[in-house]
């Protein structure tokens, strides 16, 4: 691993960490539990496009574990891990198909993040009625996915050369 890449990965990890902290400090509450802007996903998607699948996955897991231990509790960490992994897999596959732009990939990521979280919440809390949140969370996922995707495209364009 080149020194440049190590530094870059470290930078992205720190950035994702800080974004998570910001979201933790200022929860954008729209009345539905689990709906977030997903700022940290911006970093993951940038990593996916500038570094590749493997590093992006590492980054995603490291971020969740770090944030889980620092600001959240174990239960929240499990929710995030489920959401994060599902979201990551969806994004990686979507990117591979070459049919979607960054925005589309990000939308898929946002939507699957919410699906993952709600699935785990349903299992942990043993209430199927949480599925009622699904339509709202799907739409919230689209909204945040578009926002993050547009931002991510701009960042990726500018970072593309640095990471090589």
């Amino acid at each position: 691993m080149k020194t440049r890449k190590i530094a870059y990965l470290g930078l992205l990890t720190a950035l994702a960490f800080v974004f998570s902290y910001i979201e933790f400090l200022i929860p954008v509450n729209i009345g539905v539990p689990g709906a977030k802007l997903g700022l940290a996903n911006l970093v993951i998607i940038v990593a996916l496009y500038t570094l590749g699948e493997r590093d992006a996955f590492l980054l995603s897991v490291i971020r969740i574990v770090l944030v889980g231990f620092t600001f959240a509790n174990l239960a929240m960490m499990i929710y995030s891990l489920a959401g994060g992994c599902l979201s990551y897999v969806a994004m990686a596959i979507a990117k591979k198909t070459n049919r979607l732009s960054i925005t589309g990939v990000s939308v898929l990521g946002g939507v699957f993040h919410n699906i993952g979280q709600i699935l785990v919440a349903m299992v942990v809390l043993e209430t199927e009625s949480l599925i009622y949140y699904l339509p709202v969370l799907l739409i919230a996922g689209i909204a945040s996915g578009v926002a993050i995707g547009v931002l991510g495209a701009m960042v990726t364009k500018r970072l593309g050369r640095i990471s090589q």
């Binding site: 939308v107 009622y132 689209i142």
Partner: protein, 133 residues
């Protein structure tokens, strides 16, 4: 030019994806609403005898049912004006007969000697002590 075309194709893919998810969200919403409509039935009085379900009596249908037990004991259940009541029984204490008519969620009439329980399901919340339910 080539680059531009794939970009365009991807943009189209994005729009299709978002449209599909939107449709799914709306479908899920409609489906859930429909499911809720199915499951929130009319209130019913559920009669159980010695733990086994004896019958269900919708509260909006006036009916008089004689609940007969194998040993000859009986309770007469009357559903009237959206409430269930036991008006006559063979049991010695008559507690179930004296009990007022029930219509709210989870309200019960119990006849211990005959092991008959009348419970309201899908009823309106009473609002008085719903916290203790």
């Amino acid at each position: 030019m080539q680059e531009n075309q794939t970009e365009k194709k991807k943009r189209k893919g994005d729009v299709v994806l978002i449209a599909v998810i939107l449709v799914l969200a709306v479908a899920a919403y409609v489906g859930i609403k429909f499911y809720q409509g199915m499951s929130t039935e009319e209130p019913v009085a559920v009669v159980t005898v010695d733990g086994a379900e004896y019958g269900r009596f919708p509260l909006d249908v006036d009916v008089t049912e004689k609940i007969e037990l194998p040993d000859g004991a009986y309770n007469i259940l009357v559903v009237k004006d959206g409430a269930a009541d036991i008006t006559e029984a063979s049991c010695p204490d008559g507690i179930c007969v004296n009990h007022r008519a029930v219509s709210r969620q989870s309200e019960t009439i119990v006849c211990l000697p005959n092991k008959v329980v009348v419970e309201i399901e899908n009823g309106e919340e009473s609002g008085v002590d719903s916290m203790t339910n």
